[in-house]
């Protein structure tokens, strides 16, 4: 029987009305037949849609992060740490959606040559992990400090006298261009740092998982994650701060005031009028920096604003927590319980090991997995949340400059439709026109372009990207691909099945995320702002979740995500809350409607729609 494959990536039709879309993105991101060798490579690979990071089509500016991680992840595999059998992950874009493919090394000789290099380099990192990680935190915090300090304003009518009296010899136009480059470079550097430890972290984690699977065949990944999970995890701190503020409001008797159905700005005005409120606001400010620099999404899109960008969001969550505490519910992570549970699980498994060799293997991999795990869990906050949230704000400042100069109509919405190199060009246009004292071309060029691009983008949004393109491999081996995206050979064959099924598919298969079986009504949420709609006991269905969804997890009975593997946020959090979870169904948010009665089995990864809500 011929091997079943997905559509060839070159055959994906262009959506009518979007012809010429390619210029929204870097040229190397296109699938192309120009070069037969490259085209043959493209046709022979498995390309899967990176829905974990990108539930929506890409904006021309935002694709910067995709390029940044493409460079960083790949270089660490290929050129730094020298992972013997793996090169990087290649990227393409189709109708606005990013597809990626792991690249392996076929030649055994090449692999052999890479081994001693890997042992030396990776060995150094594993051995000096804690010291290097401490240094990493310093580097990243220093970078965020620099980022905070950089600001963008309109060019002045006349330069300040100091350019003369201090003999500076440079002008604001030049500085604007330079600062823009600096900003972009900071962003790219941030992503270099992101992968300094992550590849090694995943390699150690995957080794832990597989060694444990040899000793205890079929041990659930959820259980293994529990064995190594950190307790003081940075990513949980923002929600812990909300709980702290909720409790403080209750303790100081201002809970009724905080619960008032007012927008955050008005509420803060009210609070500022009374002493207890003032003190509470002071505590709020302490929490905000850095903990409210947490994105409401994954941090990958400019519209994934942070809590600091819209205080209504954390205020809503604080209110939810106040109500939960009043109802006598346990809020937040049951830390004591988690520590006890983790230690008990490890101890019981240890006792089950019957030979000294297996015991030694278990201790080896457990030790290294516990060393790397804090980074695996914590890096997200520094990179995708804290840094990104501030970074988006800086780009908005530039958007304001371009709006003031008439290049774009809306500072908050339009700049994202420009590629980062095009923004540089626009700033050149703006600066030289400013220097010369003439009218720039921008105002007659960009608004038209942006209107067209917005139209293309809307069409992209209506398109459903297939979960994969190209040829499935016999076995998926790349650690990131499996652990983070949950793409395995089995998952790919499920996706192939879905391709054949009609619209009335009632059974979906994903990966087991957190153990247990539950039935309930579905609540399909597109983003964190819809959290308020969520009702007690519903099953959350989302493309993916992030830490700012934390307040949801005390309410729901279970969760289903379109994308993600056993290490994705939803899976980790649900395991902690003991909620049954299936991750990586590929199409849960498309097939399930709010109100459907569904059953999810977190042990098998199967989701069943039992009864559809009346349409």
């Amino acid at each position: 029987m011929a091997k079943k494959t997905f559509m060839d990536p070159h055959d994906v039709p262009t959506i009518p009305g979007t012809e010429g879309w390619e210029k929204l993105y870097p040229y190397q991101y296109q699938f192309s037949n120009d070069d037969p060798e490259r085209a043959a490579f493209e046709s022979s690979q498995i390309w899967y849609y990176d829905g974990l990071h990108y539930p929506e089509p890409h904006f021309p500016f935002d694709i910067m992060w995709d390029e940044a991680w493409s460079l960083a992840l790949s270089q660490y595999n290929t050129r730094h740490i020298i992972i013997p059998p793996a090169m990087g992950i290649d990227h393409r874009i189709v109708n606005g959606y990013v597809y990626i493919t792991p690249v392996g090394i076929a030649d055994p000789e090449v692999i052999q040559k890479r081994i001693p290099l890997f042992m030396e380099r990776a060995g150094y990192y594993y051995k000096n992990w804690d010291k290097l990680y401490e240094n990493w935190e310093k580097k990243v915090k220093a970078l965020i400090g620099e980022l905070e300090a950089i600001n963008f304003t309109d060019l002045p009518e006349i330069e300040d006298i100091s350019v003369v009296t201090e003999g500076k010899g440079v002008g604001s136009g030049y500085l604007l261009l330079k600062k823009y480059d600096d900003l972009i470079n900071m962003g790219l550097l941030n992503w270099q740092y992101h992968f300094e430890f992550l590849n090694l972290g995943y390699a150690a984690y995957v080794t832990f998982i597989n060694t444990c699977n040899q000793i205890f065949p079929g041990v659930p990944i959820a259980t293994l994650t529990k064995m190594v999970s950190g307790i003081d995890v940075v990513m949980y701190r923002p929600d812990a701060e909300l709980i702290r503020l909720a409790k403080l409001a209750l303790d100081t008797g201002i809970d009724q005031l905080v619960l008032k159905p007012l927008k955050s700005a008005e509420l803060m005005n009210e609070l500022a009028k009374i002493p207890a409120g003032k003190e509470w606001l002071a505590e709020l400010e302490k929490s905000r920096y850095p903990w409210f620099h947490i994105s409401t999404g994954t941090g990958w899109y400019h519209h994934h604003i942070s809590w600091n960008d819209n205080l209504d969001i954390p205020f809503d969550s604080i209110k939810m927590h106040i109500n939960s505490i009043k109802e006598g519910k346990e809020v937040g992570r049951p830390t004591e319980k988690l520590i006890k549970e983790r230690d008990k699980i490890v101890e019981e498994y240890r006792k089950l090991i019957k030979t000294d060799d297996d015991r030694e293997a278990f201790e080896q991999v457990l030790g290294v997995a516990r060393t790397v795990f804090p980074y695996v869990e914590d890096h997200l906050f520094y990179i995708e949340h804290w840094f990104h949230s501030i970074f988006w704000g800086k780009i908005r400042q530039i958007g304001q400059i371009l709006q003031n100069a008439g290049f774009i109509e809306n500072a908050n919405e339009d700049i994202w439709f420009m590629r980062r190199d095009e923004i540089k060009q626009a700033l050149w246009d703006y600066s030289t026109a400013w220097a010369t004292g003439v009218k720039a071309r921008g105002p007659s060029y960009w608004p038209k372009q942006i209107t067209w691009r917005k139209g293309v983008y809307e069409k992209f949004k209506e398109w459903s990207p297939p979960p994969a393109l190209g040829v499935p491999p016999d076995v998926v081996t790349e650690p990131f691909t499996i652990v983070l995206w949950g793409v395995t050979t089995d998952v790919l064959s499920e996706w192939l099945k879905g391709d054949d099924a009609g619209g009335d598919q009632n059974i979906l298969k994903g990966s087991p995320g957190s153990s247990g079986v539950v039935e309930g009504r579905a609540r399909v949420l597109k983003n964190v702002e819809e959290l308020a709609d969520l009702k007690e006991g519903e099953i959350l269905v989302a493309t993916t979740t992030s830490p700012s969804w934390a307040p949801a997890f005390v309410k729901i009975a279970g969760a289903i995500t379109d994308v993600g593997g056993p290490m994705c946020h939803a899976a980790i959090v649900c395991r902690e809350y003991g909620l049954p979870t299936v991750v990586g169904t590929g199409k849960g948010t498309r097939l399930i409607k709010t109100g459907d009665l569904i059953r999810l089995d977190g042990d098998t990864g199967i989701v069943e729609i039992l009864e559809r809500v009346n349409k």
Binding site: I83, P84, P85, A86, I111, I115, F118, M119, A122, G123, Y126, A203, A204, V206, T207, I209, N210, T211, N213, Q214, I215, F216, P217, G218, V219, P220, I221, A222, T223, K226, I345, E348, Y349, L352, K354, T355, D356, D357, D358, E360, A361, Q364, V365, G367, V368, V475, V476, T477, E478, P479, I482, T488, T489, D490, S515, G516, V517, D603, T604
Partner: protein
């Protein structure tokens, strides 16, 4: 309440292994299991003291003593005569009211626990010394009248010829009081077998569980394909579930104690025969048994339709697992000098996950 040694009945959970002089070995062992957390069918013991009081108050003790004097030398013939004499005396006597009241009060509690009048019980002999199979056990006894009758029959069975001869050979005297156990007959809605390892590969971190409707014979004899579960022993998470076809079930014949086959209704066949909670309770009990005995165990169980969860989950029989316990255990992982070697080897082999 009277001192334990003076009571006529004792609930199983009031006794432990050391109490065999009070209630007999079989009963004391049940008490010991319950103490260890291994749940068995609820019930109580009629004490050896009750038997003693019965034969004293009714004058049976004295009558037997005199009769034995008259018989003189112990031969097979005289033993047969003595047996007949003792048994008919016991079976035709009336149990003193204080003893009968205690027995019936406990039986009433058992009926209440089972939410059923005249709940069927077993009446099991339990001697303070081991006398395997020498005395009688009666199944499916129901109602006050029968219960009292069969308790006497059970007491009488200590004087059947085999039992008397057995004791004589061991140098134990003729007069012999026994304990009687009154456990509820397990009315198995479902039953099955637990192995405290993965029976396929000997992995000790799993529990294998087979369950089907009705009495255990259907699963043990391989009459049906049961629902089968593989459960993580540490977390009790279910790793694998297979729904069995389970077309037939074994049940007691209506009003009798022999076993017949019956068809399982279609809709029941297609559903799992146990709830998630029941699976976890069974596995928890499996762990308790394994820890108690210190090796892998093969356990028969029933889930009683008359009792409420978790009290309904009943252990029927336990024995050491017979295959993997005996096998030599070899390492499942390759030997590596350090974690780096292990990570390297992992990267080179690639990753296959289910």
């Amino acid at each position: 309440m009277a001192d334990k040694t003076e009571r006529f009945t004792l609930w199983y959970e009031e006794t432990d292994g050391k109490d065999f002089p009070l209630v007999g070995k079989k009963n004391a062992n049940l008490g010991e299991m319950i103490k260890a957390g291994i749940r068995t069918s609820p019930g109580f013991s009629i004490t050896i003291a009750a038997n003693e009081k019965f034969i004293v108050d009714t004058g049976i003790k004295e009558k037997i003593r005199k009769y034995l004097e008259e018989l003189g030398q112990v031969t097979y013939e005289t033993t047969k005569k003595a047996s007949g004499f003792a048994m008919s005396l016991i079976e035709s006597a009336t149990i003193p009211a204080e003893i009968a009241d205690d027995i019936l009060a406990d039986y009433k509690k058992l009926c209440e626990l089972s939410r059923t009048d005249n709940i069927p019980v077993a009446v099991r002999s339990s001697g303070a010394i081991s006398m395997p199979g020498q005395m009688e056990t009666y199944l499916n006894i129901r109602g006050n009248k029968d219960l009292i009758e069969y308790v006497k029959k059970c007491w009488a069975s200590a004087y059947n010829v085999e039992a008397i001869m057995y004791r004589a050979n061991k140098g134990v005297g003729f007069l012999f009081n026994i304990g009687v156990g009154i456990p509820k007959m397990v009315n198995s809605r479902v039953s099955g077998v637990i192995f405290t390892l993965n029976t396929l590969n000997g992995d000790p971190s799993k529990i294998s569980l087979d369950v089907s409707y009705g009495l255990g014979e259907a699963v043990v004899s391989g009459l049906v394909t049961p629902d089968s579960f593989l459960v993580d022993k540490v977390t009790l998470d279910i790793v694998k579930t297979t729904i069995g076809s389970k077309e037939t079930q074994c049940v007691y014949r209506e009003g009798g104690s022999d076993i017949v086959q019956a068809e399982v209704p279609k809709d029941q066949q297609e559903k799992l025969s146990v709830s998630l909670d029941e699976v976890q309770e069974l596995c928890r009990l499996g762990k308790v048994i394994e820890e108690y005995y210190g090796k892998h165990y093969d356990i028969e169980f029933g889930i009683d339709a008359d009792l409420t969860f978790p009290g309904s989950v009943i252990i029927l029989q336990v024995r050491p697992e017979s295959i993997w316990n005996k096998k030599e255990v070899t390492a499942r992982t390759e030997k590596k000098s350090d974690p780096m070697e292990r990570i390297l080897s992992q990267l080179l082999t690639g990753v296959r996950m289910k």
